[in-house]
């Protein structure tokens, strides 16, 4: 328990009492047999970890609470945290930075305050909102990013953002991403060096996808309470509510689904439809287990510590924990994919005459020996330039063939090229001569 004295020490930054980091310093004061040759034992590394290193934690939920506590206690002192959620009463069993009085408050803010109160000298800067609100300049300020998220979409976004941030002219632009995830007794921790090693998108097909039941089973032969809930949400909601969008955060909507699913369950003599199961199924909530979160968060923070200090070899690159049948863990190197839409594919800087038409540019791409593209389709981030198919879009974009590239893409602008002969896509950065 926190003593009153520690609590009042709040935000003072110069309170590294004697031997505060006695244990961690055993590792930082001298090299070991497996430390990286670049490891600078002693004050240099301690100074970096404690006074310079800036780390971003994405997510302040089950994993996030653990991660924040671990980082603060390992000596990271400039921690930022982003989370868009508010605290729900059901979080309190495992998200130990929150108390009943905090229900309804933003997770990021409450977590930051708690850590700062509890671990003197640590500064935690919270942001209550979406990761998408922040721009490249924001992400550029960090040395490391750790993710403890439950959303595939958010992970894909931050992964792509960090890959895109890598600027060949600037070594500092490469931000290691440590990603943790749990599902019940299973979990994984991985280290992603954007553009260097396998990224999140490279391994997208390894993900367990949410359980989906055949729609005909739901419609005709329900056997499980989940079948009744899916019937209510997938078939009955659109039939009865029409175009009204279902909001899984609206208790009224969950109530409606629960009532409809219960009636269905009664008809088929199925037991087990409850309000919380209904919410769980429609929001695709996977049971969270505090101890799995603790293991994965600890693993992520160990990697953050090793990467920040070079004091030991870091994970290369995927650690998998399966606790469903005894304890099994496996570490392997997930390979980077050439056909990864985010980190794979090539990127070319090309310079074209200002007078070139789109047609001329396409001819050049087709003729160019080192790329050899057949039937390329081109677009910018905001609009189509020329599409080979389907017929309607080919026709709609055909007039662009005669236009000058300059009229469609600004100097330094980018074009995404896809073609069946490319592993995935090719990016062109256009400058005009």
């Amino acid at each position: 328990m926190a003593t009153a004295e520690v609590l009042t020490n709040g935000n003072s930054t110069l309170c590294d009492w004697h031997d505060r980091y006695y244990h961690v310093d055993q590792i930082l004061d001298r090299p070991g047999p497996r430390t990286d040759p670049s490891f600078m034992a002693g004050d240099g590394v301690k100074e970096f970890l404690r006074n310079q290193c800036k780390i971003l934690v994405i997510g302040a939920g089950g994993l996030g609470c653990e991660i924040l506590a671990n980082l603060a206690l390992s000596g990271f002192k400039d921690i930022h945290v982003i989370d868009m959620d508010t605290i729900d009463i059901s979080n309190l069993n495992r998200q130990f930075l929150f108390r009943p009085k905090d229900v309804g408050q933003p997770k990021a803010i409450v977590a930051a305050e708690y850590i700062m109160k509890r671990v003197p000298g640590v500064k935690v800067s919270p942001y209550y909102g979406k990761i998408q609100d922040k721009d490249d300049a924001y992400y550029m300020q960090f040395n490391l990013v750790i993710c403890g998220l439950d959303s595939v979409e958010a992970r894909r976004w931050i992964n792509a953002t960090l890959v895109n941030l890598v600027d060949p002219e600037n070594p500092e632009s490469l931000k290691p991403l440590i990603d943790g995830g749990t599902e019940g007794f299973k979990g994984q921790a991985r280290v992603i060096l954007p553009t260097v090693s396998s990224c999140y998108e490279c391994s997208l097909d390894m993900l367990n996808k949410p359980t989906a039941f055949p729609i005909c089973t739901i419609a005709n032969t329900p056997r499980l309470p989940e079948h009744c809930i899916e019937w209510a949400s997938v078939l009955e909601w659109p039939r009865v509510q029409g175009d009204k969008k279902m909001d899984t955060d609206d208790p009224e909507h969950i109530n409606w689904l629960y009532t409809v699913a219960s009636a269905r369950a009664k008809e088929f003599k199925i037991e087990g439809v409850t309000w919380s199961l209904t919410q769980g199924v429609v929001k695709n909530i996977i049971p969270a287990i505090a101890s799995t979160n603790a293991i994965i968060a600890a693993s992520c923070c160990n990697e953050a510590f090793k990467i920040a200090t070079s004091s030991a070899a870091y994970l290369n690159n995927y650690f998998m924990l399966i606790g469903t049948d005894g304890v099994y863990s496996y570490t392997f190197e997930h390979e980077k994919r050439d056909d990864c839409p985010v980190c794979g594919g090539e990127s070319l800087d090309i310079s074209v005459p200002r007078t070139w038409t789109v047609e001329r540019l396409i001819e050049m791409l087709v003729e160019k020996q080192d790329i050899q593209i057949k039937k390329p389709s081109l677009s910018t981030a905001s609009s189509q330039i020329y599409f080979q198919a389907p017929p309607q879009l080919e026709e709609a974009t055909r007039p662009n063939l005669e236009k000058q590239v300059f009229d469609l893409v600004p100097d330094g602008g980018e074009i995404t090229v896809t073609a069946s002969t490319l592993p995935f896509s090719l990016f062109l950065r256009i400058t005009y001569s």
Binding site: V152, T195, D205, I307, S377, S379, Q384, Q392
Partner: protein
């Protein structure tokens, strides 16, 4: 910090900054521009600038649904291809329930489609072409084992001739067992 950059230097594929186009968006561009559809299938984009919402019309040239035109709406979200596209049978571009009834064992009267790769068997390696080919196959080989329209499936299993007759009736806009179907025949 570890010296990642020195590793980077050894990589031959030097990092270049890439455009802010999302992976889902590029993947949809790739899927659409590489569609290889037979003349029996046509896509239509109500807003050609919006690649994520479109319809597919299938006009089977063989089998019991020959002579009909069947339209499906496709809605793709930003989590594609982690999530499959949302596909519904819709006889007009209106979303009114009465306007999209077809007599098919694997399509219900609300336009829901029972096709395994649209739900339980979806994988990110599948693409829009696979989905479209799968949909066309439903009209060549309706499947009585995965019923969404139970009566149609029952009929197909018990009395194939009657089923074929019902299909023809329904396509002309006929009434089968009290359900008025939409006219879908084309010349």
């Amino acid at each position: 910090m570890i010296k990642i950059w020195s590793m980077k230097k050894n990589e031959d594929a030097a990092a270049k900054r890439k455009p802010k186009t999302s992976a889902a968006q590029i993947r949809v561009q790739k899927d659409l521009t590489e569609l290889d559809l037979p003349p029996t299938m046509k896509t239509h984009f109500p807003d050609p600038a919006d690649l994520l919402n479109f319809t597919l019309t299938i006009t089977p040239d063989e089998g019991m649904y020959k002579g009909g035109a069947f339209t499906f709406s496709f809605v793709i979200n930003t989590n594609y291809p982690h999530e499959p596209p949302k596909v519904k049978c819709t006889q007009t571009h209106l979303l009114h329930a009465l306007d999209r009834k077809i007599y098919h064992p694997n399509v219900d009267l609300e336009g829901n489609v029972c096709l395994n790769i649209l739900r339980e068997d979806w994988k990110p390696v599948l693409n829009l072409n696979s989905v479209m080919v799968g949909l066309q196959y439903l009209f060549l080989e309706p499947n009585a084992d995965d019923p969404l329209n139970k009566e149609a499936a029952e009929e197909l299993r018990k009395n194939r001739d009657q089923f074929v007759y019902n299909v023809r009736q329904s396509m002309r806009g006929g009434n089968i067992k009290g359900v008025q179907y939409n006219k879908v025949t084309v010349q």
